[in-house]
Amino acid sequence: MRRAFRLAVVALCLFFSAPAFSYERIVSFRPNVTEILFALGLGSKVVGVTSFCRYPPEAEKIEKIGGYFNRSLEKTLSLKPDLVVMVPDATTPKVEAALRRSKIEVVVVKADTVSDVETAVRTIAAKAGVSDKAEALIQNMHLRREALLKSVDGLPKKKALMVIQRRPLIAAGGGTFLDDLLKDAGLQNIAGSSSLPYPHFSLETVIAKAPEVIIDLDPSDAGDYWSRYPSLPAVKNGAVAKLSPDLFVPGPRIPDALQALIDATRAR
């Protein structure tokens, strides 16, 4: 009887732990997913990433399965993954179905807002059996966020615009993690009321709404673009911050992005 009980316990443990520790070959379909996998200590098990996955630097050495939307299913299958992690977009349902038909496990995580990112971290960690690491990671993100929130506490709520691309002018709208970051930095997003996540913003609207801070994430050289609009308070006060878009990824580095955002816009 005792032996039977012990056997049952062992069997149960094996049963529940088996899926949790069996992922040895993981493929990531997005840069932020790659970052989450590495932050959870699963980096050594990642066998495929996108060509946009440049962080952490080790990710650059991993096989590429394609770009953002034009990923190769064949390449993915050839890597013999046991788990593929993706963020839903127009192209994922077909790939997901195809992978499932090939008996490959798929995890789909949203990453639109900061809370989506936390959920994504938890979901991926639970699947890979490293939930304790997820809690530690999220705890750390929370602590850093609170410290940063304190650093901007009491500062005036300046009007801000985050520019994804200058020409045509695409702004970070409401319901995005970038909008969350602006709020956390104590800034008021002038494009935050748009119902589109990334609206094609009118330059006139920008001038009329008079942002006091502009965060320019366009990777190309801005040249004299902003100085052509001298009435913009952000231009007048020299508060146009050019930041690298590489840091603004909806993943574990969100506190770093928030730190950079605050350093560039508030620490004066």
Binding site: N70, P168, L169, I170, G173, L196, S202, E204, L232
Partner: protein, 331 residues
């Protein structure tokens, strides 16, 4: 056709220019923020000055220059090719210019070089379509349009390949170039493009007489002392130069080159000496209207977004053109 007098030419042109200027003025009144147009400039707030001077005016001017180029080159193409459906967009000349400008941008050329890159590609596209459609001194109208369709598909394939190789941000820009999108530009760039367009317009207008004679057939033209090939080359050259100048800034704006020539001929009659400059002013007027719609329609809605002008010209242009064809069929 001999009825064209200097008086009629001047009166029509002046009238259409005045109309274009009035529409441009009205368009600069409309926008996200209404401007205090009836107060002194010195009393304007710096924001209003910026909105007008740095944002709205350059955009209206770019729309005007682009509309001029597409309207008059479309009229020249339709006259030269004897085809009411010929326009730079349908014949693949615009796509050629788009491919040229994307290549130019990808090679990191300074802006001043890009219109010439685009021009070379659009001229090559034009000559290819023309040579293919030319059968024993006659242009086969169906072959002409079909060649344009095929060439468009071929050039788009190249553009999509470049799009696939480009970075995420560059790819976005290529998409906007393909839809046709006007953005606020520097006066320097608009000035450069306007200079090229003005030169092209003068050449096309000067070729108006030859175009008139060519419509009665190359044989008749030759008997009247006109060398058809020399004039064809000049028209192709000037029209491609104009398209090559505007496409790098405005992208593929469709339909303006197709229906503006029809309106122009309806207003002025078939004489190219008048219909070509008239199409320039009408094209400017219509593209200013379309772009004003594009930048204002959804901007104060919940979306707070601008529309690409190419979508508006197609929305307005396609039904208009169908109507025009139906009417023509009846008469």
């Amino acid at each position: 056709m001999k009825s064209l007098t200097i008086k009629k030419w001047l009166a029509t042109n002046v009238l259409l220019v005045v109309l274009a200027v009035l529409v441009a003025f009205a368009a600069s009144l409309v926008g996200e923020k209404s401007l205090p147009f009836f107060t002194r400039w010195s009393a304007w707030s710096p924001e209003d000055k910026d909105i007008f001077w740095a944002s709205r005016l350059p955009r209206v001017l770019l729309a005007a220059v682009t509309g001029m180029a597409l309207g008059s080159s479309g009229t020249a193409f339709q006259g030269l090719l004897q085809n009411a459906l010929a326009d730079p967009y349908i014949l693949g000349v615009s796509s050629g210019a788009a491919l040229g400008s994307i290549l130019g941008y990808a090679l990191g050329l300074p802006f001043a070089g890009i219109p010439f890159f685009a021009f070379a590609a659009s001229l090559a596209a034009m000559l290819l379509v023309y040579r293919t459609a030319m059968r024993g001194g006659q242009i086969a109208p169906h072959t002409l349009l079909l060649t344009g369709v095929i060439l468009n598909a071929f050039l788009f394939a190249f553009i999509l390949i470049l799009n696939g190789l480009a970075s995420f941000e560059q790819a976005q820009k290529i998409i906007f170039l393909l839809i046709g999108n006007l953005e606020t530009e520097t006066y320097g760039r608009i000035g450069l493009v306007a200079g090229i367009v003005a030169a092209g317009l003068i050449v096309l207008t000067a070729e108006g007489h030859a175009l008139n004679l060519l419509t009665s057939g190359p044989e008749t033209a030759r008997s009247l002392g006109i060398d058809p090939n020399r004039h064809r080359k000049r028209v192709f050259f000037a029209a491609s130069l104009m398209v090559g100048a505007v496409v790098p800034l405005a992208g593929l704006v469709g339909f303006i080159g197709l229906f503006v020539p029809h309106i122009a001929r309806w207003v002025t009659g078939p004489d190219h000496r008048l219909s070509i400059p008239a199409a320039a002013w009408i094209g400017a007027t219509l593209l200013i209207v379309c772009d004003t719609l594009a930048r204002t329609l959804l901007v104060s809605s919940a979306f707070q977004t601008e529309l690409p002008v190419g979508a508006v010209t197609a929305l307005v242009g396609a039904p208009f053109f169908l109507l025009l064809m139906k009417k023509r069929g009846r008469s």
